[in-house]
């Protein structure tokens, strides 16, 4: 080995590859737009490509963070797109019925109603998965199919537009020179990281994902944990729904959050969380969501026809999944030399020493906090 040990520890860090992809994508932009990294101050607001990447990526980051926890329990939530649409539709239709759309109390109440609806969707998903024991893909498929219909029912098939200053803030407003949604995302991510890595919750989630039955036998209420993650995921989707509808000042039952579930799953996978469950990285997911948003922006800026966006995404999904597949690595690189680089739990654990595999809370914490 000619590489220094420090370099190897760096490349073995679970965030290395997602961050490397992000940096490369960002650098690709520079030859096409030389002032890509510059951030300008106009009217007391910060503008620049980097700011807009985070701004436009914020709903995706929120949904993906919720999705990470669901995937960590070995599940999947397909209904987030529909939840986004329902929340936006409910909130906007409530606000548009108000006499004074600028009244803060009315807006807060409307947002509350929207989020309650999201939580109800989450409870329903959690109930089906945890209590009835239905496969997560199928259980959440119900709301994915019916939810868009419900959203259209609420908006009566129309696109409801609202004209409310306070509501505009959450998705399109500025606060302390930065877009307000960045603060919302930062708060949600911080709370999630704190709850999962500073308390035992994260460990419980991972243990349920690793083996739900074994976790139940050691005394973890795995059903309750599962319901909790689905509710959390729906809540995140609800906040994202508020953000999307507030950004456009309109609720579109048909197109709001369309395919965001697929992007979110993609973000989670790029971030190194295994789809098999049992291990997750919130930091990785945030980077993954940024990678997707940067990819979209890059495709716009370098002048490739925008319609190839989906083809690029497909290529990214396949490459990332192939890299995570132990069989593929063994076939191509021989003997799984890359094991662990992508944070795949099998690759990492199998090459780890017995002491590492024990994964005490402390080691997990130091490994995962990002």
């Amino acid at each position: 080995m000619t590489t220094t040990p420090r370099w190897r520890t760096l490349t073995r860090h679970h965030l290395f590859w997602p961050v490397a992809v992000l940096v490369v994508l960002l650098l690709v932009n520079v030859p096409f737009t030389p002032d890509f990294f510059s951030i300008k101050m106009t009217d007391g607001h910060l503008y620049g490509s980097l700011v807009s990447i985070v701004l436009f990526g914020s709903p995706l980051i929120l949904v993906a963070v919720g999705m990470t926890l669901v995937i960590a329990t070995g599940g999947i939530d397909l209904s987030v797109g529909a939840v986004v649409a329902i929340t936006g539709a409910l909130t906007c239709s409530y606000i548009s019925d108000q006499a004074d759309q600028d009244a803060l109390s009315g807006v807060l109440l409307a947002m509350g109603i929207g989020l309650v609806a999201a939580v109800v969707c989450g409870l329903w998903n959690g109930f089906l998965v945890a209590r009835m024991g239905i496969q997560p893909i199928i259980a959440t498929l119900i709301i994915m199919v019916a939810g868009r219909g419900v959203a259209q029912l609420i908006t009566d098939g129309q696109i409801i537009t609202v004209n409310s200053e306070p509501y505009k803030l959450i998705g399109g407003g500025y606060w302390l020179t930065l877009p307000f949604s960045i603060f919302v995302v930062a708060a949600v991510v911080a709370v999630t990281v704190a709850l999962t890595r500073r308390t035992a919750l994260g460990l419980l989630v991972e243990s349920v994902g690793g083996n739900a039955e074994a976790s139940r036998l050691v005394g973890i209420r795995s059903r309750r944990i599962k319901i909790m993650v689905y509710v959390f995921c729906a809540l995140c989707a609800g906040i994202a729904g508020l953000m999307i509808s507030s950004n456009t000042s309109a609720a579109d039952g048909n197109n709001a959050g369309l395919w965001i579930e697929l992007d979110a799953i993609l973000a989670v996978v790029i971030g190194g969380t295994s789809l098999l469950g049992g291990r997750f990285s919130i930091g990785g997911t945030v980077v993954g969501a940024l990678v997707i948003q940067t990819l979209t922006t890059t495709i716009y800026t370098i002048g490739v026809p925008t319609q190839t966006n989906l083809v690029f995404k497909a290529a990214v999904v396949i490459i990332v999944c192939l890299m995570q597949s132990p069989k593929f690595r063994a076939k191509v690189f021989g003997g799984g030399r890359l094991g662990g680089r992508f944070g795949g739990k099998r690759g990492d654990r199998s090459t780890a020493t017995p002491a590492d595999t024990a994964a005490t809370p402390e080691t997990v914490r130091t490994m995962e906090v990002s």
Binding site: G133, Q135, I138, L141, A146, G149, L310, V311, A314
Partner: protein, 340 residues
């Protein structure tokens, strides 16, 4: 690996009661769906008798308007029976409409050449997905998701605008009618019924069909029995790709244009039809005839809503979701009983 260490379940004590036996019958979900279809049809008859609901053509239109869905759902039945899932169905259909329209209109190729090309591309796409799923052990869900992105993207690469087909051979084929009983069927409907019959034969009377059930029932046991599992899995996805492409051709005939947004989300309808038709989503149990009833039920919901007149189109989605939920819960209680 896990299955070999599992202890065999203790045999249930005593003979099961008559009710339990009926509940454990694998044919029950299909019968429930068929019954539901009859009940819904009867409701339609009693409510819209004066609006011509009783005409044979209204019934035959169910087959005409849903021919593409039936073909796609038959493909999805194979995949779901084998324990997998195929999310790329809608995209492949959209891509096929686009490819067909582009080849016929912009390249001026005759339909005789275009049809094999379109079917070949669909089947090859399915083969690739099956190959990756089998050889690299990646979840079918994520691989077919990539397929969804890829084909939808390729649609847009061909053209962002929709291409309408004005070719005379296509329109004459689309308008051809085959009289049956008191009405007529379109060529698309006939093709879809032929596909259904072929799928029935393959699933129930060939070795390949048995293998699909075996893999879906328990992959490990199938492997231990020495079944050529890899080939079967790849074949299943190839078949699904082929069916999707065929469904795309039927959709092109039905709608006579190619559009990059055609059939968005159709995979959900196909999966819903399969589930409502009584096929277990965990694989290994179900009938392709059930899929026919699932498609008919979905089609009937649409025509009932049309006849009602006051209900908006989104009630279709809500009704589909409710039915999906009901059938999943029925399946769940059934499998729970079978285990105990």
């Amino acid at each position: 690996m896990t299955t070999t260490t599992q202890q065999p379940k203790a045999p249930s004590n005593g003979t099961p009661s008559r009710a339990a036996r009926v509940l454990a019958d694998r044919r029950l979900p299909v019968l429930v769906t068929a019954g539901l279809f009859l009940v819904m049809y009867a409701i339609g008859l009693s409510r819209y008798q004066n609006y011509g609901f009783a005409e044979t053509q209204v019934f035959l239109n169910l087959f005409i308007d849903n021919s593409y869905l039936l073909v796609a759902a038959v493909g999805a039945t194979f995949v779901i029976l084998s324990g997998g899932i195929d999310l790329s169905v809608g995209s492949v259909i959209g891509f096929t409409t686009m490819l067909t329209a582009w080849l016929v209109e912009k390249q001026g190729l005759p339909l005789v050449i275009v049809i094999p090309i379109a079917l070949g591309v669909g089947a090859f796409g399915g083969y690739l997905m099956g190959y990756v799923i089998q050889n690299f052990e990646i979840q079918p869900f994520i691989v077919t998701l990539a397929g969804l992105f890829l084909f939808r993207g390729l649609c847009l690469v061909i053209s962002k605008e929709s291409i309408s087909i004005t070719d005379s051979s296509v329109s004459s084929m689309a308008q051809a009618q085959v009289s049956v009983g008191g009405g007529f069927l379109s060529i698309g409907a006939i093709v879809s019924l032929v596909v259904l019959a072929a799928a029935f034969y393959v699933l129930h009377y060939t070795r390949f069909g048995r293998r699909v059930y075996a893999i879906g029932g328990n992959e490990q046991s199938a492997l231990l029995m020495g079944l050529p599992q890899g080939g079967t899995k790849i074949a299943v996805y190839t078949m699904s790709g082929f069916c999707s492409a065929l469904a795309g051709l039927l959709f092109t005939l039905y709608i006579q244009s190619g559009d990059p947004l055609h059939a968005t989300g159709l995979e959900l309808d196909a999966i819903a039809a399969v589930v409502i038709g009584g096929t277990l989503l965990t694989g290994g149990s179900g009938y392709v005839v059930g899929t026919l009833f699932g498609v008919l039920v979905l089609g009937l919901i649409k025509s009932l809503i049309q006849f009602e007149g006051t209900l908006s189109s989104w009630w279709t989605k809500i009704a589909t979701g409710v039915l999906l939920c009901a059938f999943i819960l029925i399946q769940r209680t059934m499998t729970a009983r079978r285990k105990t």
